[in-house]
Point group: C2
Chain length 417, copies 2
């Protein structure tokens, strides 16, 4: 089925971006035959001793064994003068496979520890793919030696390819920032296309930097930024059992370690990290299953942050709004409906809706300046911006989504066959 | 567009049921040309003096002018020895039309009061159709005289037809119950097909009975039953701005008035009323936009009622679950996902999932007795029952939904053209 998928019409035109190597990180990939033959489906990232690791994970109550294992490790993550590893497979999520799940993780980590000579608490695994099928553990464990032998600093694009499932293009993003005269680099990769309504983290995302930063500050930055990047995207309102975002800072650059959120270096790094995270999450939406439109929903004027998020997500998850956008129909009545049902405080008569720069509603009805013809013209764009001003307060949220098309139904009506 | 719609494959085989006349209620309908020519789009129900009226309405923050007006009236509903009227139009929802909305309602009620000689506080209006277009009020007001002249006790099926929008079949249900040797009759009609995720009440529903009952008890029964009938269905998770359920009890039967919830008569009537409400809400789901499967989701073993409702609605609103059902794919991994994302307390290892009578998962994984072949066979049925036992407590909820198909996208990608 996957081979039949065409590349998303919203795929980046230039293809996969050129990501700079990060000092202290090497990658390798292999076709382990986990679900399909001759498809790269396993990747290893090896990270030098002295690095710090931060992460955020799905809040699903049925999260996978890998996620549970990673969460335990992140909370006690210490720099013990040993290296770290990320080992990720596609083709099988190892979620909801009973005791098999933890057994598989344990066995994979045991072999990786032996092969890479690093502590088992330094090994983070992720699995993505079908839920509920036992992971073919031995296909993974017998590939680890080969992965170890073929590690190379310039294989991050192969790694982005290896973690894809229903994705139609690999996702990567990079940023650079000057700190203390030193060029700090960030390179990140992600996968994700369906089951996207992350709760805390999302999908699979791996970001690497040569920044020197304490684990505490790195974790704080990653958590803060998740709430305004990956937690603000939705393809279908469905939350994965495997969502994982891991960030590794190798500290290989010549700079003083960041140990406070207030320093100029910390702020500069955070801005660069945000750019990478935002770029990756937008790529996930552009590859949303069946997507033909990239949609930004901005809600301003809410009485609380929670309310602005509620309204934005209510619009972004509304099947009626999403099908209207697919049909290039400026059906703003459905936006009003989605505001109304959100549970947030709203006043019909204070609500202002814009499509792009076109004012659509004001004073509880369609604006006298509104032109259906211009709005219909605007809806033909690939990038659509919906702005809702609740007119009640000062809080705002921006989220990103895609339209709901026939292709989404096609992709999902018989995914497993 | 509407004329192109085929009748839902889940439409009742026998067509519209034969509904008994209710003593004290007369109906009339007319083609007022509100949106389309030569289509019945306006109905009047006239209800005798001495009746009691109860109702529940959408909780949307952008609810329509009619809904706001009805809500005001229900809370002060008194039996003043005068008749009541329900006046309902399809083709235009009169929602989000600014001051025009309330002006239209005021004008319609003024003319109805003059024509029917009943107090304006006794007139309940509803409007359903496109959001945001001004109601052609004069088309309605000039039809009221004709509606008044043509009232008849046996036109309830015409009324069911007049309130349809994207519905592919009219919806009606009836029940009888013996109270004090008297046969008490209930006849109800409903419309609804998309934008169905009622919050408090749903869509448009009108139920009539000759029961003799106090307003307080009738309202209590209707509110109680809404929470286990109309508040437990979802087509697309989108909540209408116009949802209205009105129940009129004419008291024309020879029985002592019900004034307590504890009496045998009250309990008997409530059971019959529930049957009618449940039947109507199931018909709405069977006519869900694009539906090919009627799906019951039962969640048991939750630690609270709230949790069981959360899990059931999370499954019933999941696009991934709904597309799998459309594809007749027993993809239970997506049910696990939907349990996980619901926010309710769940323990992966205690979760049991059944498809029909087939045990699918237990002990945190697929059951050893599970047969994918049998499950795939089961998914070919038109009626699908998903049962989730959380294994944690004693609370349960049952909700109803339909699958998500190409036809839903077709119907909604360009509804307004």
């Amino acid at each position: 089925m996957l081979t039949a998928l065409k590349v998303s019409p919203l795929a980046p035109k230039g293809g996969f971006p050129s990501l700079p190597n990060i000092n202290g990180v090497t990658f390798s990939t292999i076709s382990a035959g986990i679900k399909y033959k001759d498809r790269t489906d396993l990747m290893l990232a090896s990270i030098v001793p002295g690095s710090t690791i931060a992460g955020v994970f799905t809040q699903s109550a049925t999260r996978s064994a890998s996620v549970l294992d990673c969460q335990k490790k992140i909370s006690v993550s210490k720099n013990e003068g040993k290296g770290f590893a990320f080992l990720v497979n596609s083709g099988n999520s190892n979620a909801f496979t009973g005791k098999n799940g933890q057994n598989a993780v344990d066995e994979i980590i045991r072999v990786t520890t032996e092969t890479l000579k690093i502590p088992n608490t330094h090994i983070y695994t992720s699995s993505t793919g079908v839920i509920g099928e036992p992971l073919p553990t031995s296909k993974i464990t017998k590939s680890i030696g080969k992965l170890h032998e073929t590690l190379s600093p310039n294989k991050i694009s192969d790694a982005a390819q290896a973690i894809m499932t229903t994705d139609t293009f690999p996702k990567g993003a990079t940023a650079e920032v000057m700190i203390e005269g030193e060029k700090i680099k960030i390179s990140g990769i992600a996968k994700g296309s369906g089951m996207i309504a992350p709760d805390m983290a999302t999908m699979l995302v791996y970001i690497f930097s040569d920044v020197k930063i304490s684990q505490k500050i790195l974790q704080k930055h990653v958590s803060d930024l998740s709430s305004i990047t990956f937690n603000c995207i939705t393809v279908d309102g469905d939350t994965s059992t495997s969502d994982t975002l891991l960030v590794a800072a190798t500290g290989q650059s010549n700079m003083v370690e960041i140990t406070s959120t207030r320093s100029a270096a910390s702020k500069a790094f955070k801005i660069a990290l945000k750019a990478v995270m935002l770029d990756l999450c937008h790529q996930v939406i552009r590859d949303g299953e069946g997507a033909t439109k990239f949609v930004e929903v901005s809600v301003v004027g809410a009485i609380s942050k929670k309310d602005s998020h509620k309204v934005a997500m209510s619009i972004a998850n509304s099947p009626l709004v999403k099908t209207a956008i697919a049909g290039e129909d400026p059906n703003w009545g459905r936006i009003v409906m989605a505001v109304g049902k959100s549970g947030a405080q709203a006043d019909r008569d204070k609500l202002k809706i814009h499509l792009g720069s076109l004012l659509v509603t004001e004073n509880g009805w369609v604006s006298p300046h509104y032109s259906e013809k211009k709005a219909a013209e605007y809806m033909k764009n690939r990038n659509i911006v919906v702005t809702v001003d609740l007119g009640l307060g000062k809080h705002s949220t921006t989220v990103w989504t895609c339209d709901l098309t026939h292709a989404y139904i096609e992709i999902n009506a018989d995914y497993r066959s």
